[in-house]
């Protein structure tokens, strides 16, 4: 394989880098008055990248196995791309606001940089690349979280995030170094770690620290404490990105590493993941029940959703991997649909409490119905996509006879229905004439985002070919 082939194998990464460079140059030289065209240019370019991502790519190993790409990693990247494009589309309102407008291009550049990091995590074949990807996906996020720099909350969230991220990275790096030590200096290629992964206490400690670091990124209980504070403080569109794209990318990366590198230690990480799932689903739900703030509420809801996602991973089968990827896809459209509405409302009126949604149906019937459908999908009510995605992760877990776990998860879906319906109840039954949010006229970008999200929520479940397509490329413990 010559040098050029190696580089071309990184198709997705290269395109993102190209867009980043283009945007930097464009931002430098474009007249400031034409600033708004950058929204269109960014969205359009990224749409192209998303489309290219759907072109199938064969298994590739580049740079001596440092970089691995296979159809399933490309599907995962496409799932992330869909999240990013939805996030771009719904950010327009926020970017138009006075304090942000002059630095809008950086939002795109920073988001794309984290995306690049996520790509590297998913496609890595070496723990160093993995770590670089992880950091690349974390640091720009801190900047984005603190983007409303005159807002006390936003800055506090940024600081909290960077502190916690630094700490968890430290732990993860420590874990990797232990793995390196236990491999006897054979290197940090996935292959070589895998070959020497025997259940010694050194390896296990490394594995647990690695898992803890990743659990931070996915915000699994008990490594989730930063989540609610950061989600609440960050600009809502960045919260959307954090809760969907960043979380899914980390989950994908973790799944790939566990499947590729640690199949021999399955008996050990099985218990850890099991415990993390139970804790995340239950604690996430219990906290979500009591939230008054929409963004904190969504933070806890996303913690428990991450628990369900891991159910598919725990099975360790190809079907499990498919169900997890599919779960992410469905979760992406539903959650970003909700965020499109929440951010629209926040950016227009500054309201983020659940009680502010009282009587929303009277003033904004379309938004309310859309929001209701997304919430139903998250709660797993048929015939929306969320039902099928939950069904598949449960099926994957049942196939491996985790009856107790599925039972706990099922009870928790009932709990979750309660708090999702609280929001629906506020919108439809809650009646507050004085403070009800006035009628909003959404712009074309948000509308497009809502339509895509709605179409996904309604159709993903019914088009069985999508699930079958992902299943063709999935693999189990290797």
């Amino acid at each position: 394989m010559n040098y050029l082939d190696n580089i071309l194998a990184m198709r997705a990464e290269l395109l993102v880098v190209a867009q980043i460079i283009f945007l930097i140059i464009y931002d430098l030289f474009a007249p400031k008055t034409a600033g708004k065209t950058i929204d269109f240019v960014s969205c359009a370019l990224f749409l192209v990248i998303t489309a290219v991502g759907f072109i199938p790519q064969a298994d590739v190993e580049a740079f001596g196995g440092m970089y691995l790409s296979s159809p399933i990693t490309e599907i995962m990247k496409s799932a992330l791309n869909i999240g990013v494009i939805l996030m771009f589309l719904q950010s327009k309102m926020w970017l138009n606001s006075e304090q942000i407008a002059h630095k809008r291009a950086e939002v795109y550049i920073l988001v794309l940089s984290t995306l690049l990091g996520m790509y590297l995590m998913i496609s890595s074949g070496h723990f160093l690349i993995f770590y670089i990807g992880l950091e690349m996906a974390s640091l720009p996020l801190a900047a984005l979280i603190a983007y409303n720099k005159y807002s006390y909350n936003s800055v506090e969230a940024g600081v909290k995030y960077i502190l916690m991220a630094a700490f968890s990275s430290g732990l993860l790096l420590f874990g990797i170094s232990l793995l390196y030590g236990s491999s006897g200096g054979a290197g940090l290629y996935f292959e070589s770690v895998r070959a020497l992964a025997i259940p010694s206490s050194l390896t296990l400690l490394g594995l647990v620290f690695f898992l803890a670091g990743m659990a931070f990124k996915i915000s699994l209980v008990p490594f989730h404490l930063w989540t609610a504070d950061v989600y609440q403080g960050a600009p809502t569109n960045i919260t959307a990105f954090l809760s969907v794209v960043s979380k899914s990318a980390a989950a994908f990366a973790l799944m790939l590493v566990l499947f590729k590198v640690f199949p021999a230690l399955f008996d050990y990480w099985e218990y850890v993941v099991y415990a993390l799932i139970v804790a995340s689903i239950t604690i996430g739900n219990l906290f979500a029940m009591r939230q008054k703030n929409m963004k904190r509420f969504l933070a806890y809801s996303s913690i428990s959703q991450a628990g369900y996602l891991l159910l598919g991973m725990l099975a360790g089968t190809a079907f499990g991997m498919t169900s997890a990827v599919y779960y992410v896809l469905v979760y992406t459209v539903a959650n970003l649909g909700i965020f499109a509405i929440v951010s629209e409302i926040e950016n227009r009126t500054g309201k983020t409490e659940i009680s502010d949604y009282n009587g929303l149906y009277k003033t904004n019937p379309y938004l309310s119905v859309g929001m209701m459908l997304f919430l139903f999908s998250l709660a797993g009510i048929p015939p929306f996509a969320g039902f099928f995605s939950k069904f598949f992760v449960f099926a994957a877990a049942v196939e491996k006879e985790y009856y107790g776990l599925v039972f706990i998860a099922l009870i928790n879906t009932v709990l979750s229905l309660y708090y999702y319906l609280l929001v629906v109840k506020a919108m439809f039954i809650g009646n507050d004439k004085i403070t009800a949010i006035a009628r909003l006229k959404t712009n074309g970008y948000t509308k497009t985002a809502l339509f895509i999200a709605l179409a996904g929520t309604l159709l993903l479940g019914l088009l069985s070919c999508i699930f079958a397509y992902i299943e063709d490329f999935s693999f189990g413990l290797m």
Partner: protein, 637 residues
């Protein structure tokens, strides 16, 4: 199958669905006129496409080597295992193509007729949307390639029937009738679903092609497991028949159909006369080889239930005074006729006469019964009442309705050369060769049918001269044209050579009118008409005398043999008191109590763990590290 036929059949399904979506979403944004035009125009295209399909199927590509073939085109939708999967697709074979023609024709007539009948009604657009939904579901039901797809559309048909019966939702009786129809048929469908599950469990397929292939492994080598003395497949087909009996209003699941007459009359013509109610017959016909070869015992059950139903409904029809209810019971009776025909049928060649005649009767009955209902609609439209007591002498005011109604009555009474004669005659022949008791029963029913239909006819158009507040008049061309068209169909459909087209195994056989049976059956029809003429043509007190003579029997019949009361007694007194009340108590105190306890517990827990979330980063890091170390300790040791 040629590709253009596939496209046409997809269009046949897609157009009504599109109509439904457009009309349903636009709702009151369309004027009445626009909605009616869109609905009717869409349906006329569907009808034309159905005729093209039928013509091509029967006379062009359908027959290969003298045998009508089954053509399927489907995509896999849900896969359970390599052999068991649910497909969605289109199946063309003689009976499904025949049903396409029947459904689209009657539906088109009803669409046109409703332009006049429903004029100015509130919710006119909604009415047309529901009509389109129903047509879509019914078409989907008949072209289903597998039993599960059929079940899906079966339920859709049930839903749209529910919506249409309850169309006048401000009227409590309509709401009640809609609920009753839905609950009773849903109850029957429970049996259907269980039947499907048993069947698919033991045969490992949903596909009609595999289930009904006489040379296939399922019929050649059926599952031998038994349950309570009967083979599991008998249970399956019996339960599937239960679903069919619910939709086709067979005894004792018939109670919903008379009440369903609360819907607008054109709806009754479409759903409760020509299409949905024959779904049960169609279902048995669809699975006929399975019934015949594997579970002949169940087929006998079908025949006897059919015979009992047809006799029962015919007797009840003689005493009803609401003209739509008379027609409803007559429908039950006639559908039961078709069931009997299936029950007595053999397989292959002339032995399959029952099957052929059943489909034949379905075909002819659809048109003349729709005609009767639409005629009744015209009468109701003219005098604003359903009661025979408010009518009489209408022949002068409604000449077109009168003539077409008479044609339909003669047809159902089995008088040649009207269509009903031919199909009924074939059924009687088939019954005669199979079972003399069934034949006697159906022979009696033929006489009763002639009697009550002409009782109805004379009661409406002759009888006493009623004084009307304002002169009754015809409902305009939109209502008359369908009557005339259906009247013409009633005259000609009897001559369709069904034995060439629709047979058990796809091979034509020679059939001819068996005069040894036809002449007595004509005579019994004429006798029924004669009795009705004497009793009802002119006002007289003979009917009262007869009623007094048979006092007890008359009252029982008039009250439909107390079936509704029995149901009410069983549900309200026995099920509600002895089963539901204890369950409700259990639910309220034990189950709810448990749930409340859980809610209380979760609430407590969630308020107790709040302190974990303090907002202090130091604490977060502390928890983080502690958790990692605890987990590591647990994993390592």
């Amino acid at each position: 199958m040629q590709s253009y036929i596939i496209i046409i059949s997809i269009l046949i399904l897609a157009l009504p669905l599109l109509n439904f979506l457009v009309l349903g979403l636009a709702d009151s944004r369309f004027s009445h006129k626009t909605a009616g035009t869109i609905g009717t125009f869409g349906l006329s295209i569907v009808a034309i496409l159905s005729y093209i399909t039928a013509f091509n199927y029967f006379f062009d590509f359908g027959k290969i080597d003298g045998v009508y073939q089954k053509f399927t085109q489907s995509v896999e939708w849900l896969r359970f295992s390599d052999t068991l999967h649910i497909d969605l697709g289109i199946l063309l074979d003689p009976i499904s193509v025949m049903m396409l023609v029947v459904i689209s024709t009657v539906s088109l007539m009803v669409h046109i007729y409703s332009l006049g009948y429903m004029k100015g009604e509130r919710g006119f657009q909604r009415y047309y949307a529901f009509l389109s939904l129903f047509t879509f579901s019914m078409l989907g039901l008949v072209v289903a390639t597998n039993i599960f797809q059929m079940y899906i559309f079966w339920e859709l048909v049930g839903v749209s029937s529910f919506l249409l019966i309850g169309f006048y939702y401000t009227k409590p009786s309509a709401v009640k009738a809609a609920k009753k129809a839905f609950i009773v048929t849903r109850f029957a469908d429970l049996g259907f679903l269980i039947g499907i599950l048993i069947l698919s469990y033991f045969t490992n397929t949903f596909d009609f092609g595999a289930l009904t292939d006489p040379n296939g492994s399922i019929i050649g080598n059926p599952a031998s497991a038994t349950f309570m003395g009967f083979s599991v497949l008998s249970w399956a087909t019996l339960l599937i028949f239960m679903g069919g009996a619910g939709k086709s209003a067979m005894l004792p699941l018939h109670i919903w159909l008379p009440d369903a007459m609360e819907g607008p009359t054109p709806v009754s013509a479409l759903i409760h006369a020509a299409t949905m109610v024959v779904a049960g017959v169609y279902l048995v016909a669809r699975l006929f080889p399975l019934y015949f070869f594997v579970t002949p015992d169940v087929l006998t059950v079908v025949a006897y239930i059919g015979a009992a139903t047809s006799l029962f409904a015919a007797v009840v029809a003689c005493t009803q005074t609401d003209i739509k209810r008379v027609l409803a019971f007559s429908t039950i009776s006639q559908i039961a006729y078709m069931m009997v025909a299936l029950g007595v049928s053999g397989f292959g060649g002339h032995d399959g006469l029952g099957y052929m005649s059943s489909m034949f009767h379905l075909f002819t009955h659809a048109f003349f019964k729709a005609l009767l209902f639409l005629g009744a609609g015209a009468v109701i439209h003219a005098v604003h009442s359903n009661e025979m007591g408010d009518m009489g002498g209408l022949r002068k005011y409604l000449p077109i309705t009168h003539i077409t109604f008479l044609i339909a009555c003669l047809s159902i009474a089995g008088i040649p050369p009207f269509s009903g004669f031919f199909s009924k005659d074939e059924i009687l022949v088939a019954a005669f060769h199979h079972d003399k008791i069934l034949f006697a029963c159906q022979y009696l029913v033929a006489g009763l049918t002639a009697f009550y239909m002409f009782r109805l006819y004379f009661g409406i158009f002759w009888g006493k001269e009623t004084h009307y507040h304002h002169t009754p008049h015809e409902g305009g061309v939109a209502m008359s044209a369908p009557l005339i068209f259906l009247g013409l169909l009633t005259l000609v459909t009897g001559f369709v050579p069904f034995h060439d087209l629709i047979t058990t195994n796809g091979v034509s056989f020679a059939a001819h009118i068996d005069w040894a049976i036809a002449i007595p059956s004509i005579l019994v029809g004429v006798a029924g008409i004669a009795v009705a003429t004497v009793m009802y043509k002119k006002p007289s007190d003979i009917p009262n005398k007869v009623a007094t003579a048979f006092n007890g029997f008359y009252v029982a019949t008039k009250n439909k043999f107390y079936f509704d009361e029995i149901y009410l007694f069983v549900t309200k007194k026995i099920i509600f008191n002895c089963i539901s009340t204890p369950i409700a108590w259990f639910d309220r105190h034990i189950v709810d109590g448990f749930m409340d306890f859980q809610a209380f517990w979760s609430n407590m827990l969630s308020s107790n763990i709040r302190y974990l979330q303090s907002g202090r980063v130091q604490q977060y890091v502390w928890v983080f590290t502690a958790s990692a170390i605890v987990i590591a300790a647990l994993v390592i040791f």
